[in-house]
Symmetry: C2
Subunit: 386 residues, 2 copies
């Protein structure tokens, strides 16, 4: 293998691909990045057991300044490789492997690095996929769907299907749901998908996969999804993300969304977020990370009860308060994440009682059909001694 | 105690003072910040056993918007206090302590925090000092003296006097020296000091003291130093730093500076720094963090010998090479810190042999008398197998 390429493009693509790689992977070769030179271009591949990312740098793209002298494939330690290429002095890099692909020589200006490697044939094969049923996704909206829900996914491996983003694909809309059973995020986005390409309606994608997709996908580029029974593939201009799906039956979350309320507050999401940001400084000092919200005579207050460091109190500026008085406790960090997903707009918070979930939605619903965000948060039952 | 004050000024002064405070101090009250309201203004105090910082916010300074209603003194946990005041919503803060100073109430706009505290009388007294012999220091130059030497101070407590900055004060110049016995930094700056105020010619200031002084002192503000047999005090416009001195006889380092050389290189400090930055990526992978510098036929090369990850080689662009061929090994991280202190200018590196210290100085010495920077670096003896 021997080729030269423009530095910055290569550094960025190698960084994208390396996001799949775990530096402490138990399978040694998966700590490496695979570099493959073919007659048509350069493939870069990174993988852990769950997710694989492959980028392709096309020989014909002038931006890459790509000159392939010899084809071949080698795997080198990703972290060291990325650190080295980032710091190279020249804007071109030459890569050359020796005959048995045990050493990769990297040359850039006056700098020469010999990196030990393994032959590319040792690297596990990426899964095959059928390119026929490609579902086109609106890139920017789909990234937003991910970013405004995925924080509610569980980190607990005892119910693995809750550690991902559940997607339901319809011709007119896609529903994304994430929940750890204490809170739930649901974002619906409008799409136009030909019914014939929808083979699997509902499936759950691991958190890492959608998080990396959201980081790598560029708003102005096309994005396609191919789903099969066990895996999902996201195709971008230069890059493909392969991922397994999470097994297990995702719960029916529709029945969890409350349809009535006895108390309702309308306020700016940032104002409540900032107040919780302050109040949580005090709640983090206590044994229970709990904030109490009081609705009394249409005034809303936050309280953190006395702990060994002190206590906090805040009057909250609202736009509208209707319904019954209420005292409800919750985890301020969960509430902060839920509020942040509304990006500063006014929100409606609906309560049924101190023991039922709170429902947070935009105060001004979208006029576009199938365009919706809601956050559900379960209260914490406490004995109010304050 | 009760007063109101402009938020940003107070937040910044509290942050400066808190730099002295260790959140895991064994003496519980020293994890706190002491807030004292007097009729003339507000004092803020932070301390660990070694260093104390005190700031004064003058009642008469309009910028502070200070309104003192009741004098008094309270101590509250510094980290929580700083986090809270930073996030307060209004640009004014009101502080009020209860009768026995067990609670400090912080009010800003709609936010109210009650922080548990202790009476200020429980806080240790700061040392007294004699204000007569104040040595005026050129603030910007003195900060530069600190920043370009202190990285060479030792982190090892077995020879405590090496963990600080040794200062020698003369009427015309101040000499700053730091060394961990593997490397040595010396910066001489020109000053004009009346001989009568110099009581103690040579003394050693703890690393933390000078590091914090360099962070807090503002270039355009006056700086004075008062030295006694056991302590040093730095006086700034709003802030005083009190510090103990390090005990023990600082070694005579003048005799360590070589006066002759057999090989000499002149090059740009940044070029060698960047090359070492790359080469050290590979040297960090091996058992010995060593880079080999080769001078052969007036060409200079860096090599990192083969380790389990690979090897590195770099040709170094020089401006002048004179004298004998040479092979010398050194710690690239130490060399990088020494080079960085020259801030990108051309430097002269002088060698006696592979086992004698290298001397690095500016290629163009200052025309100002008593204005000098030099870095000394001991080589590492290795068996060159590469």
């Amino acid at each position: 293998m021997k080729f030269t390429i423009q530095k910055d493009v290569f550094v960025n693509q190698a960084a994208d691909v390396s996001r799949a790689i775990q530096s402490k992977a138990t399978i040694a070769i998966l700590t490496g990045i695979k570099i493959t030179a073919t007659n048509s271009g350069i493939y870069l591949t990174g993988s852990d057991a769950e997710i694989s990312i492959e980028s392709f740098l096309d020989q014909t793209n002038d931006l890459y300044d790509l000159n392939i002298e010899e084809t071949g494939s080698i795997v080198v330690t990703a972290s060291l490789f990325n650190n080295i290429i980032r710091k190279l002095p020249d804007n071109k890099i030459q890569f050359e492997s020796n005959e048995d692909n045990s050493v990769l020589t990297i040359t850039s200006g006056p700098a020469v690095f010999d990196l030990k490697g393994q032959d590319g044939s040792q690297y596990p094969h990426l899964p095959e996929f059928d390119e026929t049923n490609q579902i086109p996704l609106p890139t920017k909206l789909f990234k937003e769907l991910i970013d405004r829900t995925i924080f509610s996914a569980s980190n607990q491996e005892n119910r693995p299907y809750l550690t991902g983003l559940n997607l339901t694909v319809n011709p007119t809309h896609i529903i994304g749901v994430a929940t750890d059973s204490h809170r739930l995020s649901r974002r619906i986005i409008p799409v136009q998908i030909n019914e014939s390409v929808i083979d699997f309606e509902s499936f759950t994608v691991p958190k890492k996969t959608v998080t990396e997709l959201s980081r790598i996908a560029e708003d102005d580029q096309d994005l396609f999804m191919v789903v099969s029974s066990k895996q999902v593939i996201f195709l971008m201009e230069n890059t493909i993300i392969y991922s397994r799906l999470l097994e297990g039956n995702y719960p029916d979350t529709n029945r969890l969304i409350p349809t009535s309320s006895s108390t309702e507050i309308i306020l700016n999401s940032d104002i409540l977020h900032q107040a919780l940001d302050r109040a949580s400084l005090m709640s983090h000092q206590g044994k229970n990370n709990v904030v109490l919200l009081n609705v009394v005579d249409n005034a809303v207050e936050l309280t953190v009860s006395g702990n060994e460091r002190g206590q906090a109190f805040e009057a909250i500026k609202t736009k509208e308060v209707t319904g019954d008085d209420l005292q409800i406790s919750f985890n301020p960090d969960y509430m902060k994440e839920a509020l942040r997903s509304f990006n500063g707009v006014d929100v409606r918070i609906q309560f049924q009682s101190a023991v039922h979930p709170m429902l947070i939605s935009s105060e001004a619903p979208s006029e576009v059909p199938h365009n919706e965000l809601l956050q559900l948060l379960t209260p914490i039952r406490t004995h109010h001694t304050y």
